[in-house]
């Protein structure tokens, strides 16, 4: 008996310790990125300054001249924000109709929407370039990036909203219909206040996906509408690389999103598995 308690005491300590070690190992690359961003470019590549160095904010204060960071960051903020807003504006009415007035085709429509998400982007790369460049003349505009980001995230947004709306009792909506409330009134005054948490986490997750998107934002822009993904990808060259400043601009590009992500990690499961894992 004594042996058993001894063993469980040891494992009581051992497993949490192992969990902490694993978590720190996984976080280490991010820590290293932030850590390096406080080194000068010269210190960043010297082994003797691996852990001990004089921290500097120089990389952050020079971000504007080194990389023109704020222009790319502004583009990222504008495109991600508007894409998220449009996805919600189109997605909320759609998910509302599907959740409260389902027809026999609702399930098929939802499945079909999801299938558009699975289309490999590379397969339609040239047609998109051709259409937007030669035909519509919207290549490298904010409008195009917003539209594409909105469209690729719309299926996930609708799915998430749908799963949240389904949890609201139908009777509440039907009662308001009896009282002669208009459809717009139902959405604005009843649905959104009731499903506020769900709408907020859908918005947050959509925003994160827009921000991190790295195929279309790189391929459909050159200068004017280029986002942070493009900025980082443009500075990938190994030769003559400045680790300190590269780390600073990378930290600035991912920092806000990683923090936002901490707030919606639970919703991530529902959003990414389309409600199939609860």
């Amino acid at each position: 008996m004594a042996a058993v308690t001894e063993r469980s005491r040891l494992s009581d300590f051992m497993w949490p310790a192992l969990a902490w070690i694993v978590a720190l190992v996984f976080f280490f690359p991010i820590f290293w990125l932030v850590f390096t961003s406080f080194k000068t470019d010269a210190d960043a590549v010297k082994p003797e300054h691996l852990f001990f160095f004089t921290p500097t904010l120089e990389n952050y204060t020079n971000m504007t001249e080194n990389y023109d960071y704020w222009r790319f960051a502004t583009n990222s903020v504008i495109t991600s924000t508007f894409a998220t807003l449009f996805a919600l504006a189109v997605g909320v009415p759609c998910a509302y109709a599907m959740a409260f007035n389902p027809s026999k085709h609702t399930k098929d429509i939802l499945m079909w929407m999801l299938s558009t998400k699975m289309l490999p982007a590379a397969a339609v790369l040239y047609p998109m370039t051709f259409l937007t460049k030669n035909f519509l003349g919207i290549f490298d505009t904010h409008f195009l990036v917003i539209l594409v980001l909105c469209l690729i995230n719309l299926p996930i947004a609708i799915w998430m909203l749908f799963t949240y709306f389904k949890e609201i009792p139908k009777e509440i909506i039907e009662a308001s219909k009896m009282d002669g409330v208009t459809t717009w009134g139902e959405i604005k005054d009843i649905l959104i206040p009731l499903a506020w948490g769900g709408v907020a986490s859908t918005a947050l997750l959509t925003f994160i996906f827009c921000w991190n998107e790295a195929y279309w934002t790189v391929r459909l822009t050159t200068v004017d509408a280029a986002t942070l993904s493009k900025l980082i990808e443009g500075n990938r060259a190994p030769e003559g690389l400045f680790f300190g400043r590269l780390a600073a601009v990378s930290t600035a590009a991912v920092g806000p999103i990683v923090v936002l992500g901490w707030f919606c990690q639970k919703q991530l499961v529902q959003g990414l598995t389309f409600g199939a894992v609860k």
Partner: protein, 312 residues
């Protein structure tokens, strides 16, 4: 009447937008895949604009199927995706079980673990290939240099020195080389997606039937046999979903492959399409159609699984 038409009206914008998004570019790809279409040709200028007169039938498909880059790209895509899947599912399961208990600081552990998932792919690749894996300036080079220094120091010892002087000077591996760039991509993507697997498995573990486990413990079942006989079957569906969602995402990897080695020795289908697109649009489109077919095979299974849980 308005009872039925309003809901339909509310769905219309989303349906029309997605319909355009799917149909217009895809039908153009399909059309381009059947014609001769190149961007620059001084010899055959008539091929530089898309037209029905340049009809080539299945010629582009034949060209692609006879191209050894295509087969290498398929092989490499499958290699990368399978490796990532095996790594993320095994680590994901182990870590999810590890943190599925209460201990001090569990909330912080969760936050630290999930963080890699929110790093943008371009930063992930730049961070790993430069600051961590670079053979000279990265931690890889620093660590190997450190080992060499220690071995060098030990060579001066009286007895042990004879043993250590036999040791070679270690060379750090370069992960930008033709043979190794795929491993670099596998490493960085696995780092990013293991947290995703952990999160899904953990969510699912929380709905596991605890009374079953207690009964098993009373019957004297070992923790290992409980894990194999109770937990793994419970997780079968989440595992399948993790595998399929990741397959769809990783089949279209691009930024990582571009940043690590510009596709040197490590092309996948999207990268090959990108390369073809610089001139041979016909071949790029035919390759694109193959990529669509490949993605669809996986998507059908995924949609079936998701569909089951849809209306309950």
């Amino acid at each position: 009447m308005s009872d039925r038409s309003i809901p339909r009206l509310l769905q219309t914008p989303a349906v029309i937008l997605l319909l355009f998004w799917m149909l217009v570019p895809l039908s153009m790809t399909l059309f381009f895949s059947f014609i001769r279409y190149v961007l620059n040709s001084t010899r055959r200028p008539e091929w530089t604009s898309p037209s029905l007169e340049n009809w080539r039938g299945f010629g582009n498909y034949e060209y692609v199927l006879n191209n050894k880059d295509f087969w290498f790209a398929i092989q490499n895509s499958v290699f990368i995706v399978t490796s990532i899947l095996i790594i993320t599912v095994i680590f994901g399961l182990a870590i999810a079980v590890l943190i599925n208990r209460s201990f001090p600081g569990r909330g912080i552990v969760r936050v630290l673990l999930i963080s890699p998932f929110f790093v943008m792919p371009a930063v992930n690749a730049v961070l790993w290939i430069n600051m961590i894996l670079d053979p000279v300036l990265g931690l890889n080079g620093v660590a190997v240099g450190g080992i060499n220094n220690i071995v060098d120091g030990l060579r001066d010892f009286p007895v042990l020195g004879a043993f250590f002087s036999l040791w070679p000077e270690f060379e750090p591996i370069s992960f930008r080389a033709t043979q190794t760039s795929a491993y670099a991509v596998i490493m960085m993507v696995s780092w990013q997606w293991t947290p995703f697997a952990v999160l899904i498995f953990m969510t699912s573990l929380q709905s596991e039937d605890e009374s079953q486990k207690e009964a098993a413990t009373l019957d004297g079942a070992s923790p290992w046999s409980q894990f194999i006989n109770l937990t793994v079957p419970h997780l079968a569906r989440p595992i399948a979903i993790v595998v399929m969602i990741q397959s769809i995402f990783h089949l279209s990897l691009y930024a990582e492959i571009e940043i690590v080695s510009r596709g040197n020795g490590n092309k996948n289908l999207p990268y090959l399409i990108g390369e073809f697109s610089s001139n041979n649009i016909g071949a790029a489109s035919a390759t694109g159609i193959f990529a669509v077919i490949l993605a669809n095979i996986i998507a059908i299974f995924l949609l079936r699984m998701v569909g089951k849980s849809l209306m309950d």
